[in-house]
């Protein structure tokens, strides 16, 4: 179990409390077909159109496992630095619900395909490890709609039988912030691997969150499980609310009952599920329709060989290859598309300047337009060209921002924009000197002031820049002004 991190403690009436969180994340496997049938695993579709007779659990239909789902689970296990179990077993988890036509879910109980692993999570102030307990493969259920008719529920089996990976963490998380950072990191890893699209709105990634509280150094408290939280923000809210609720109950002399709770996004609160719904007795037993899943060492090795560069590796490489700070590198590798974009921009250019542009104006522009990097109005090549214009002193940083706005609004390459609009920087000292002389002559008062207050030199710089439409080379302007006004270089 991870150490106590004092910054995360919650104040109660009787002193500080520690919140302990573990998560079970359901990640939908990216595959064409379902786990045990040849029906499509694609999201959406007309009701019951992505359904084979296997998914509808017609008598006599037998499951046949999709090899790609097995590969995806192993790839994910490798990405979680986890033990790959070359022999695993499918079990039946028995319960009744109308969107589960088999009357059981095929899952893995005693022998999961992936064992213990670890995810390193970075916050701005510190990093911590979350242990992975296991990852197993299982079937998703169908979908029930309850609001279509007063007497009936509507059932669509399109999701029934789609492959899920259940990724179970150890109780190594100590705050809502840590929980949010963990699921974000997990999602980044899954997306890098291409094993899950991580789309929480469509339900491809959802979490059951286990929360308990304890006094420092005390044994673990009784936990409550909050089911099916489907956004990162809600995970944070659910933990905050639940921890505070448990502390209040205990401090008022009550005890925590182990139970399953639901998070209500509207009120931001959790509430208990009906006790009837949690009277679980799943009576797991090995599915007699499926032999144990055995994979060879070569099968695993082949997957390992072609594993893409993972987020942690990419970050380390960005730090050493481009001399970026841990934080900058961490932001740039958050998704693979951004990392690839950055590498195109940085190639053969000043990597720090490229990082600043991407994390500043570029990300801000994407945010403002609500666009994903893959649909960016400015290409990596164009941003690179803009940086080239700055580096070769064709335009100043200030003009570059102007050009960037034009690229964003009207499109076009930076070179053409600078040419068309005559935005080239004036580096001709004679031309700048003429303007400098004019401004000095016109402002005797400020000339007097700058002798005692050298900082007011900035005012002159501003005047010259304005007079030249921002096109004068700032370094040249500075040098000329210092020389003429006899203001020494700052040390």
């Amino acid at each position: 179990m991870a150490d106590t991190r004092k910054e995360n403690l919650i104040d109660g009436a009787t002193g500080p409390w520690e919140v302990i969180v573990g998560m079970e994340v359901h990640a939908q496997v990216l595959s064409n077909a379902k786990l045990f049938s040849g029906a499509s695993a694609a999201f959406g579709g007309e009701p019951n159109s992505h359904v084979s007779l296997v998914d509808a659990a017609m008598p006599g239909m037998l499951p046949v496992i999709n090899v790609e789902c097995v590969k995806q689970a192993i790839r994910t296990g490798l990405g979680l630095k986890a033990q790959i179990n070359r022999r695993s077993v499918f079990d039946r988890k028995n319960y009744f619900y109308p969107d589960l036509p088999q009357g059981y879910q095929i899952s893995q109980f005693k022998f999961p395909i992936v064992g213990e692993g670890v995810v390193t999570v970075d916050l701005k102030e510190y990093s911590f490890d979350v242990g992975i307990e296991r990852l197993h493969l299982e079937q998703d259920a169908g979908k029930s709609l309850h609001d279509q008719d007063p007497d009936h529920s509507y059932v669509d089996l399109n999701r029934s039988g789609v492959a899920l990976m259940e990724i179970v963490s150890k109780p190594d998380i100590r705050s809502s912030e840590e929980a949010k950072a963990y699921i974000t990191k997990l999602r980044t890893i899954l997306r890098y691997l291409g094993t899950c699209d991580g789309n929480m709105e469509e339900g491809s990634l959802r979490a059951d969150v286990n929360v308990s509280v304890r006094k420092l150094g005390a044994p673990l408290g009784t936990r409550c499980e909050i089911k099916n939280v489907n956004s990162i923000r809600f995970i944070g809210q659910a933990i905050e609310y639940e921890a505070r609720r448990q502390i209040d109950v205990i401090e008022d002399g009550g005890t925590i009952k182990q139970e399953t709770r639901l998070f209500d996004a509207k009120s931001g609160k959790t509430r208990p599920m009906r006790s009837k719904e949690e009277a679980h007795d799943y009576r797991y037993f090995p599915d007699p329709d499926l032999l144990p899943l055995e994979v060879s060492e070569a099968f695993v090795e082949d997957l390992k060989k072609v594993l893409p560069e993972l987020p942690d590796e990419k970050r380390a490489r960005f730090m050493s290859e481009y001399a970026l700070s841990a934080y900058d590198a961490g932001v740039l590798i958050l998704d693979r598309a951004s990392a690839d974009f950055y590498e195109t921009v940085a190639k053969g250019r000043d990597p720090k300047l490229a990082a600043n542009w991407m994390m500043g104006d570029f990300f801000a522009a994407l945010n403002k337009t609500g666009k994903d990097i893959t649909e960016s109005p400015i290409s990596a090549a164009q941003l690179g060209e803009l940086i080239d214009l700055i580096s070769s002193d064709v335009i100043s940083g200030r003009i570059a921002k102007e050009v960037f706005e034009i690229m964003l609004d009207k499109g076009g390459t930076p070179g053409a924009i600078v040419e068309e609009r005559g935005l080239k920087q004036v580096t001709d000292t004679g031309a700048i000197e003429k303007v400098v002389d004019e401004i000095i002559a016109a402002n005797p008062k400020q000339v007097e002031q700058v002798q005692t207050k050298p900082k007011t030199l900035g005012w002159f710089v501003g005047q010259v820049m304005r007079a030249t439409g921002g096109k004068a080379n700032p370094d040249a302007v500075n040098a000329l002004l210092r020389q003429k006004l006899q203001v020494p270089e700052e040390v």
Binding site: A33, A39, V64, L145, Q148, L291, P292, E294
Partner: protein, 98 residues
Amino acid sequence: MAKSEIDEATVRRIAHLARVKVTAEEAKSLQRELNGILSWVEELNAIPTDGVEPLTSVGGAKLHMREDVVTDGNKPAAVLKNAPKSEDGFFLVPKVIE
């Protein structure tokens, strides 16, 4: 054998989990029958099995795998054919309250 004797409450519990309605009379006879089956199966306990791997396949068969290709689906009419009630391509079931 006494150790796996099941009582009437257990019979009722199993019936409930299986969503099977059982009368008091039926429960009694089921209890008798289940205990009969269990004591018969428990004769196997006499065989020493220490260090013997559980047998999962007689012919040494391996789990067969399919390629990740969509080969099925797009037949909602067939899927819904035996449904007592359906509408707009959905199964209709008695209202399930969350």
